[in-house]
Symmetry: C2
């Protein structure tokens, strides 16, 4: 008696969340220390101490203004603080009017797609992609158009990207640093994508919006650089979340950057406030808005992720796994040991290893490992990974 | 270049939010003390002190578990605490499995409608209704079917309600205590509605879900009683928010009650977690989940609202306004002084009074006044209300 649409969705489900729930089940059976759950991007490094201090500082204020409604787009002073921080870091020229506080990046993406999509409009995503994009696009009657995976770099193939654009293309979603691959889009790639988009906008006489989903922006390694995408392409909307940078995924706090040069900027801004309200978010959580405004220069413990990345990458490649060396985020993307990545992940489970099949990201034959766990979990898991690869040699 | 659908929506907008923004503009011009903003349901009574204590108590825990992801439906221990509180208060028989924590009641309603609606399914709402219901229903391709207003009680006319039900009716949304009227549905009304629904379910061989939107549950006056709707009708889903009861509207924290006896219960539960995730909420804000679990027996300052209600109702009726005496919530529902309620509200603005036209609630010729403001605002506003009514006598 639930909707037919939801019934069909449920039969697919979220492989990532299913793994997360399976991990809880296995932990209860075998003890948490004996289950190697690399399924979910749930940061295991503490929030910076400053977050706690900021919460307590904000609580000193008047409760009605801390916990009350504000404009759907968020507190103007919080949005201004975010804008100035982006200006300082990236040489942008934003004010509060260019920032909409959102219920995490997922909330921001849903708002953006609600603003943009009419039934049948096309949204391009690049495989491997965060599987939820398919659902976000479907929420608003959009049609996902998938650019195939491009191993071994997993940067988008520019020709394939260009071929995916049609007169119905309304938006492109990119995600850098990338979930699931850890790849960071470089200057050359972004210039090439921007050139294609500008040319196609002219060809079709339509705006094509580039939605840059950037929850991993600050988690970046060695000499990789995060580029500020609106510098490359005018019709860019940036979606951000503090989930990873401040280890606050449960708090659902993030923002959209909507540059003034965007086509239909005034309508977009008005519509994004409207969509925030009518989708049921209403506004980003109020206390946390004020808290992140006090923590804009706080950094997560990137060294924690860097050590995990080094340890897992070194160990797995030494064992014989074929992995993409991540430049950012906290995922490692590896080739499954058989063509059927789902069967591979099922077999991994027999060794109490939980990883997510590449099929969930539109890329068969690979798997994703989220290394945002404790380093101890990584160390504990290594003998199991060895047994897993050995099991394919017999 | 935004979607055609959003362009059309923007041209309608939210009268309530437009008033809220107008209030901010007028306050800047004339000073906040000279603007009588009764437009928005933004509680002006402080959060109970216990909320602040609970936040600080929760912060003593491990930051990863306070601010991390949990199951999409929320922390099991929080859901269990909510369930036990409802059991204690209403003699229900719930466990954590019957509770899904949501991003406020608005988030919960969107999740529920996402779970239930296929394109073209009908949802009955009873005028005057909270205007956002139209948008929530439209978000999922549903069709709102409106039961006309029934003055002077503004309880639903049962015959009109029955006539609105068709073979496509998937759900009915009720809201008690009611926004905008302040009416509380009594035992007799609920029994009559349940009888109709049961009969129609049999007639059409379909489940018809009753969605009870209850953010004002605890704000109730004199001898009015809030009835626990699942006791009346088996296919009831309750949507709740702590926005009003703990003065936390900006925090976006609430829950759904999904009783085990619901038709397709197992699918409903699974789908509600899925919808919570894919609509971009992901989960209700994590810190606030833990906080409300420590504040289940806290009460808002109902005396504050009772005094406001008394003062505004007495003064306005004495002046000659025709008002429905509210039994709950913090709204008073009055007849506009001309047929065109929008014109009336425009005229009220000339006296710095901000109220919302009944048309926004599907009920022409009336207006809503939110008396969740400071008592001083009410006192200050009375001469302006006198001038407003006098202006119609000239």
């Amino acid at each position: 008696m639930i909707s037919k649409k939801m019934q069909a969705m449920l039969s697919k489900g979220s492989a990532i969340r299913a793994m997360f729930e399976e991990g809880k089940r296995l932990s209860a059976l075998y003890g948490a220390e004996n289950v190697y759950d690399f399924s979910l991007g749930n940061p295991n490094t503490p929030t910076p101490e400053k977050v706690k201090e900021a919460i307590i500082e904000v609580l000193e204020g008047d409760s009605v203004s801390i916990h009350g409604y504000m404009l759907n787009a968020g507190y103007p002073e919080v949005r201004q603080a975010v804008a100035e921080n982006i200006n300082k870091r990236y040489g942008a020229n934003l004010s509060y009017e260019n920032v909409v506080m959102t219920v995490g990046a997922a909330g921001g993406l849903n708002v953006t797609l609600k603003v943009l999509l009419d039934e049948g409009d096309e949204v391009i995503i690049i495989a491997p992609y965060f599987g939820e994009y398919l659902r976000y696009i479907d929420n608003f009657g959009g049609k996902a158009v998938i650019v195939p995976p491009n191993p071994p770099t997993f940067l988008p193939n520019i020709t394939a990207f260009e071929n995916a654009i049609t007169s119905r293309t309304k938006a492109v979603i990119i995600n850098t640093p990338n979930n699931p691959t850890g790849v960071v889009y470089d200057d050359e790639t972004l210039k090439a994508m921007a050139e294609v988009l500008e040319r196609k906008e002219k060809e079709y006489g339509n705006a094509i919006y580039l939605i840059s989903d950037e929850p991993y922006r600050e988690i970046i390694f060695e000499d990789a650089v995060h580029c500020y995408i609106p510098h490359y392409y005018k019709n860019t909307i940036v979606g951000y979340s503090y989930s990873k940078s401040l280890s606050l995924p449960g708090e659902r706090i993030g923002y959209l950057i909507i540059p003034s040069c965007l086509d239909s900027f005034a309508d977009f801004i008005k519509a994004s406030g409207d969509a925030t309200r009518t989708l049921g978010f209403v506004n980003a959580p109020s206390l946390m808005q004020k808290v992140v405004a006090l923590c804009l220069d706080e950094k997560t413990n990137v060294d924690f992720y860097a050590k995990n990345r080094h340890d897992i990458y070194t160990a797995l490649t030494k064992m014989g796994y074929q992995c993409t060396k991540p430049q950012g985020a906290f995922y490692i993307w590896c080739k499954a040991l058989e063509d059927d990545d789902k069967a591979f992940c099922e077999r991994a489970k027999q060794f109490n290893i939980l990883v997510v099949p590449g099929t969930s990201f539109g890329c068969k034959g690979w798997f994703r490992l989220a290394y945002c766990v404790s380093n101890q979990t990584i160390q504990n898991s290594l003998p199991a990974f060895q047994k897993l690869i050995d099991s394919y040699k017999n």
